[in-house]
Assembly symmetry: C2
Homo-oligomer: 335 residues x 2
């Protein structure tokens, strides 16, 4: 039996907090026996939500935090001033070893800043990237960095590739994962200054399976297991993935409600359509870890519901059991 | 009646040349009476294709060009060496005033280089951006720049916004078109160095209707009429738009072929689905103009078929009649 993974969960973060967050925690306990959850946030509110569920009381604890960091707050300031916020308290628990991981659907900015300032980087890691799994025709790809470090340097991207490869190999079980760099053409001489400088470095890097440039068009087809890019580009990729998918689905649904004929057709195809949409639902794949920290910090969508929280909590167990951070430490420090 | 628009059309460019290109030209004549087409390329091949059609022989001329620039060729070299290529010959016709516009589905690199080197920039224009229309829930948005100038500077982006606004107002008929800058957050202080520097410049620019940052997720919803970004980001947006759309549609189609029930449903919804897909088909909206040149150069998809060629040719007529280049000249030189 594996040891217990202790997760500090931000009960106050996201559009559906605390209800969906608490529900996700309860569901995670049911699915994964080796997890212990600290619900961090306003005790009374959390207690009220919890009282609606039947759960193993020895495996969920409430950690009181009276403040909440709002998404609109300037993150550096918020982390510094709101010492009693769920994000600061939860991250300190990771820093102090009381928790293995911190999970939050709250302010991205505060999570990124707090991850670096409170939890801290693994020695040798220059920039911790945010690395979500994105759905593809073949399964999933890991997108590093999707938003943590704008205007990154080539050496950062090389580390993203190494950390991403470890994640895909040991969390997703992909043997010798392929790595591609986002580019605007397939040839080595294409790209902006950053990509042109990074390309030869990735080519030389023996610990990864670099397969060259990936054009954005190829990403949804599952071009490579790890997709490396600077955060501005990565954020565009992630958000557009969600935006185009959602828009297209809405349009298709609307189109199907056009006439009696299409309405009948829609009824018949609905289950199949639902199945397809599920494959393209980012919530199925849990939150995005911030790689390279002394502990695990995971950001889930602001719109997270119980399912995404549950999936993310279960992911934390694999992260700990596979000793991802030790592998990252070895890989980065071997340079 | 408007005057005649003369278009030099690269008969050798793209995956389906010369057949679909020639067919597109013939169809454009039928739709638009004030157009005259020069088919530039290998005379014999073009003649053979043309002979299959019934058309007004006084409105299509063949201009012989014996060489073809392949997509894989380094563009600068190709433009310099292949003096008798369809791209070089066609662009020279624009330069010399024999044609108002040049349209090609061939090598993007060669078209971008040739546009600058042969056709030349309007005085005052720093970088000519490639500006395709992309489909949205509300209609279309103009994406400038989608791939011409990687690592652009703030002043370039301001010019993109001005030229894009003129295009949307006078080609698409959008009154006082809104302009957004692609960013990774809605607030002014978000973004990479380029966006942070460009944002206040756009805000100050009185000739445009700047409405702030646009997150990638909002683009398919039709956030703004003109979407300004650096070419690396723009290329990702364009390609991912196409990639995610295509993948999702393939998955949905596959899902619908799962069982007899879904197959019957698919038959019933097919026309509605087709209509929806048509809205999201970039070919419906013609090619991407390279804005700010002394003449018009339009790049169409490498996979262009007759429909896209026809739509693009018709677009050239509006471009000329609306005197877009004169308006760009006035706007840029008024600074």
């Amino acid at each position: 039996m594996s040891e217990i993974t202790k997760v500090a969960l931000d009960a106050m973060g996201g559009d559906h907090a605390p209800h969906e967050i608490v529900k996700g925690a309860v569901n995670a306990l049911r699915e994964e026996s080796s997890i212990h959850v600290f619900l961090v946030g306003r005790e009374e509110e959390i207690q009220k939500e919890l009282s609606a569920f039947d759960y193993d009381k020895s495996r969920i604890e409430i950690v009181n935090a009276t403040e909440v960091i709002e998404t609109a707050e300037p993150p550096v300031n918020a982390i510094r001033k709101k010492k009693d916020s769920s994000i600061v308290i939860g991250m300190k628990m990771v820093k102090d070893g009381q928790a293995d991981a911190f999970v939050s659907a709250g302010s991205s900015g505060a999570i990124l800043v707090g991850g670096q300032v409170i939890v801290g980087r693994i020695k040798g890691v220059e920039r911790p990237p945010l690395a979500p799994l994105i759905p593809t025709e073949k399964g999933v790809s890991l997108l590093v960095d999707c938003g943590a470090n704008v205007d990154a340097r080539p050496s950062h991207l090389v580390q993203f590739a190494k950390m991403g490869s470890i994640y895909m190999e040991h969390i997703l079980g992909v043997k010798n994962p392929t790595v591609g760099i986002v580019n605007i053409g397939a040839e080595e001489e294409k790209g902006n200054a950053l990509v042109k400088e990074t390309f030869p470095l990735l080519k030389e890097e023996k610990s990864i399976n670099f397969i060259g440039s990936v054009e954005a068009r190829e990403i949804p087809h599952g071009h490579s297991d790890v997709i490396v890019c600077e955060a501005f580009a990565g954020n565009i990729i992630l958000k557009l993935f969600e935006g185009v998918g959602m828009t297209l689905i809405n349009q298709i649904k609307k189109g199907m409600m056009n006439s009696l004929r299409t309405k009948i057709g829609a009824l018949l195809v609905k289950p199949a359509l639902k199945e397809t949409l599920k494959t393209f639902d980012t919530a199925e794949h849990g939150g995005a870890p911030l790689l390279g920290l002394n502990g695990l910090v995971v950001k889930t969508h602001g719109s997270s519901k119980a399912k995404e929280i549950r999936n993310t909590l279960v992911q934390c167990v694999t992260f700990k059991n596979q000793r991802i951070n030790e592998k990252i430490r070895e890989s980065i420090q071997s340079d």
